[in-house]
Symmetry: C2
Subunit: 200 residues, 2 copies
Amino acid sequence: MAKPVLDFWYDFASTYSFLSAMRIAPLAEAEGVTVRWRPFLLGPIFQSQNMTTSPFVTFPLKGRNMWRDMERLADEIGISFRRPSVFPQNSLLAARVAMAGMDEGWGEDFTRATYVAEFSDGRTISEPGVIADVLGKLKLPVDATLALAQSDNNKSKLRAQTKQAQKLELFGAPSFTTADGEMFWGNDRLERALRWAKRG
Amino acid sequence: MAKPVLDFWYDFASTYSFLSAMRIAPLAEAEGVTVRWRPFLLGPIFQSQNMTTSPFVTFPLKGRNMWRDMERLADEIGISFRRPSVFPQNSLLAARVAMAGMDEGWGEDFTRATYVAEFSDGRTISEPGVIADVLGKLKLPVDATLALAQSDNNKSKLRAQTKQAQKLELFGAPSFTTADGEMFWGNDRLERALRWAKRG
């Protein structure tokens, strides 16, 4: 029998997606669930709901609590967390590179390393130099990979993935979707989403 | 040594507060934490952030997911859940009655029974007849209790409690606050809030 599958939708601008990206692999392994990593862009989805930026910026009290909550949760799972000076960050380049990497087998590692650059090291991932550093650490050819990420074919793949997210009615990240049409929103639903996919 | 204390802030309009109200007593007992039940009104807090209604109404995709999420979570803890025809409900009367009940020792029971009327039975708790039914089931004198709830003294207590919530920078419900100044937002943070209070 084929292993059950869970789709993991994330945006590189999303703080709670960082936590899920760092947690999901061992949890999925333990449940016997295959994860499909699905970078997408929340920007167009927010815009279609008349939101011009993250709710954490629009509602400062919510934002302040989110940063404290991130500190507590990162501490709980033993990962380093630093609030970047820019939030939310433009995640387009990172999402394109991750998209390209999924076909080539290094997409997961790139995703984790980019989130660490952003939310553990506090770097600005919209800067190509930061992405180049991440690619270098992963021993990937920087120029060729950036060219691949910016190719028309890869750009349209990311657009299609974001369209699919919209069709699935995703409104935030991280989100998890199952083959039988369930959608779970938020890092705090990760374990439940995996169990749901497993019992499928 | 005095038992550690956790303040549990809830609004009767809030779906996730219903789940916390049904879960908190045995969990707190197990952790040895005393819970202070604190009804308050989210309305003025939303208004001060230029929100005219619940985010679950303003953002329909978020709302749709919330109702499904409530079904799943209620199922998980074995409580009956029904989406009421009115959402969000005007929670003023229920909050006033709960406030009066806290001093008299029946506030917790009233809170749970009112949430059950609203979210298990789908009734409209802004209707005095529904609150009267709840009071009747708890064997409380209906007219005298409603009069007490609507007294100037009790009204100003609820106003003061809502002001305190604002001062604590609460922006949603349920929220949990500890003696050392931590604030946890959301039913999914209940267990962590209790552990924090305990180690406090």
